[in-house]
């Protein structure tokens, strides 16, 4: 009938298929929440990285002759009760809190993901065992367990990592386990098995890239949770120890002067909200972008 063969048509069919399913590279800038999240978080991260360049004072050096000053040209956000520059402490505080929050996510992410993969893939006893520990941790409210653990271990950044890891891995295990339970029934897993590949290879080369998305998205909101936890611990005096600048400490110590010098607590508070907003938007945008076709 027609002189065009199916072979010749294939490239055209393909181009339209590709057009329909443009990848991450072509879509990210059209996702508003992702762009907003990147911009907001970018500002915070840049400020933290460029801290020595955009501040005039050492965040820990005291100036007892000029305590509790209001915002001025010399001290943009004023000084605290020990005469330390609030702007400097705010910017250096971002360094501390972002670093602690990020590191506090990495370990639970890795541990939780691996356990979730194993529990979901092998099922049976492995799953029963993993789920048992998940349920124990889940039975406690997040903050109660974190505070109890830090209280038992003693304050300080290292113990914050340990406490958050002990509590945090469960969410990743639950997410990944659920995803694997669905994904392992897919034909590509059967195809990999029929190729005689090892379980290890199927788990980490074939399943992991397919299920990791949800965990990455959750990690973004988990960082928010961790920042809040760190700030809360700081506020309770269990977190990052003074004089290291930290938003939680700043809010807590500024509280005494709230009626007269509101800026002491308010600006670190705004910084917490701003950063959390950026991460939440980023997580939201990522969820939109990485959602499988």
């Amino acid at each position: 009938m027609s002189s065009i063969t199916a072979d010749e048509l294939e490239p055209f069919i393909e181009e339209t298929a590709v057009e329909h399913r443009r990848g991450f590279r072509h879509r990210w800038y059209r996702t508003p929440s992702f762009v907003a999240g990147v911009v907001i978080l970018g500002i915070v991260v840049l400020a933290a990285l460029a801290a020595p360049l955009i501040t005039k004072y050492n965040p820990t050096s005291q100036d007892l002759l000029s305590t509790l000053q209001g915002p001025s040209a010399r001290h943009w956000l004023g000084t605290d009760d020990l005469g330390r520059d609030v702007w400097s402490r705010l910017v250096y505080g971002a360094r501390t809190d972002l670093r602690v929050a990020f590191l506090a996510v990495v370990l639970p992410f890795i541990i939780g993901t691996v356990l979730g993969l194993l529990a979901g893939y092998y099922g049976g006893l492995t799953d029963t065992f993993a789920s048992f520990f998940v349920n124990i941790v889940v039975a406690f409210p997040f903050y109660v367990l974190i505070i109890a653990l830090v209280f038992a271990l003693g304050s300080g950044t290292r113990n914050i990592y340990i406490a958050i890891t002990i509590v945090g891995w469960v969410s990743y295990t639950r997410i990944i386990r659920g995803e694997v339970l669905v994904a392992k029934r897919r034909d590509y897993v059967l195809a990999a098995k029929s190729g005689g590949l090892s379980d290890f290879r199927i788990l980490f080369r074939h399943l992991l890239p397919n299920v990791i998305t949800q965990a990455v998205i959750f990690a973004c909101s988990d960082i928010v949770l961790d920042i809040l936890a760190i700030v809360t611990l700081g506020y309770l005096g269990l977190g990052v120890q003074p004089p290291t600048p930290d938003w939680g400490n700043m809010i807590a110590s500024g509280q005494t002067y709230l009626t007269t010098h509101w800026q002491l607590s308010t600006f670190p508070g705004i910084a917490v909200v701003f950063t959390a907003l950026g991460l939440s938007l980023l997580a939201d945008g990522l969820a939109d972008l990485l959602r499988p076709e």
């Binding site: 199916a6 069919i13 590509y188 029929s194 190729g195």
Partner: protein, 337 residues
């Protein structure tokens, strides 16, 4: 028929334990596949053909249990082998082509990497050699511009190319036997034809054996030399494709052949087989096909019917196969010749 068979299946039995009873999905199936031969397994959904195929590769569906029989592939009894030996056979001796290439390819892995995986992991090639092998295989299965296509993800390819990628993966471990589970069902007819021609070409060029599972008689006719027709977990008829199609001896085979639309003779309506496949948890007594059979007689209900050997390589499971023969005599299935 001089060479020793590559695959020897003897009295294979697979059961599913369900709440309402034991389902005999595969019930005493036997067949041989010669080296370099294409063998077809035909039957409707639930006839046990796919389960038989999965048993060959040692990956039965969840809940299924091998309860009897032996499967010998390349001299190794798969049913008696441990998990390690079985895994060792997969990919490099037996490989599989799936029905739906979109779901059988890993969506987040470049197709080139998926084809290179077997040579890299199983054949111990270096990374660059495996990549070169992948591109070579892509060219072999007729993928144009393989170097560029190797970088693509499955969703970026059309259905026909995806199935070609699937075939390249199946061939990547240099197998002796490729199991094809309805490899063309998900494709449209023009592409289907290309893929079948490609499989035949590869079968001859590479001297691999194919086991073809399909409900589509046309597909089997186009690709296979011998076939077995399955019904309710049993082989009801087997023989050379030409012979079975021209002179079917089982009423079920006849029903299947009569149900194929024919462009030459326009009928009022297509012939169909009345009724539906039996519940395998409680199969009918006697001949399993008797509730749907046109030629059913008293003795069909009494005792299970055994496979009867007609000539060399020709078997049928029917007490009254002369009835079917007479019917074909009156109205031939294949009119040409």
């Amino acid at each position: 028929m001089t060479r020793e068979p590559l695959v020897k299946v003897r009295d294979l039995r697979v059961e599913f334990q369900l709440a309402r009873g034991t389902v005999h999905a595969v019930d005493g199936v036997s067949f041989d596949v010669e080296p370099g031969e294409a063998f077809g397994l035909v039957g409707e959904s639930g006839s046990g053909k796919t389960v038989t195929l999965r048993a060959l590769v040692g990956l039965l569906p969840r809940g299924a249990k091998l309860t009897g029989g032996t499967i010998e592939i390349d001299g190794v009894d798969v049913t008696a082998a441990d998990e390690d030996t079985q895994r060792h056979l997969r990919g490099t001796t037996v490989s599989m082509i799936f029905q739906e290439p979109m779901t059988a390819l890993n969506p987040v892995m470049r197709v080139g990497d998926q084809i290179a995986e077997e040579p890299l992991v199983r054949l111990g090639m270096s990374r660059s050699a495996a990549r070169a092998r992948a591109i070579e295989l892509m060219a072999l299965v007729g993928i144009p511009d393989p170097r560029r296509r190797a970088q693509a993800y499955p969703h970026e390819l059309s259905g026909g190319l995806r199935q070609r990628v699937m075939i390249a993966i199946a061939l990547s471990g240099d197998p002796k036997l490729v199991l094809c589970d309805e490899p063309t069902t998900a494709l449209d007819v023009t592409i289907q034809d290309q893929i079948l021609k490609l499989l035949r070409k590869l079968q001859h060029e590479l001297d691999v054996s194919l086991v073809f599972v399909s409900h589509d008689l046309a597909v089997i006719a186009q690709t296979c030399r011998r076939l077995a027709v399955m019904y309710a977990g049993q082989v009801v008829e087997s023989g050379a494709v030409e012979q079975v199609f021209r002179e079917p001896r089982h009423p079920y085979t006849l029903g299947l052949l009569r149900a194929v639309p024919d462009f030459e003779v326009v009928r009022e309506r297509l012939a169909s087989i009345p009724g539906s496949p039996p519940d395998l948890a409680a199969p009918p007594a006697g001949c399993r096909f008797h509730p749907r059979c046109r030629f059913v007689q008293e003795d069909c209900l009494a005792i299970p019917v055994e496979l009867e050997r007609l000539d060399a390589g020709r078997e049928v499971r029917c007490l009254h196969h002369d009835q079917t023969a007479a019917d074909v005599e009156r109205e031939p299935v294949i009119v040409d010749a």
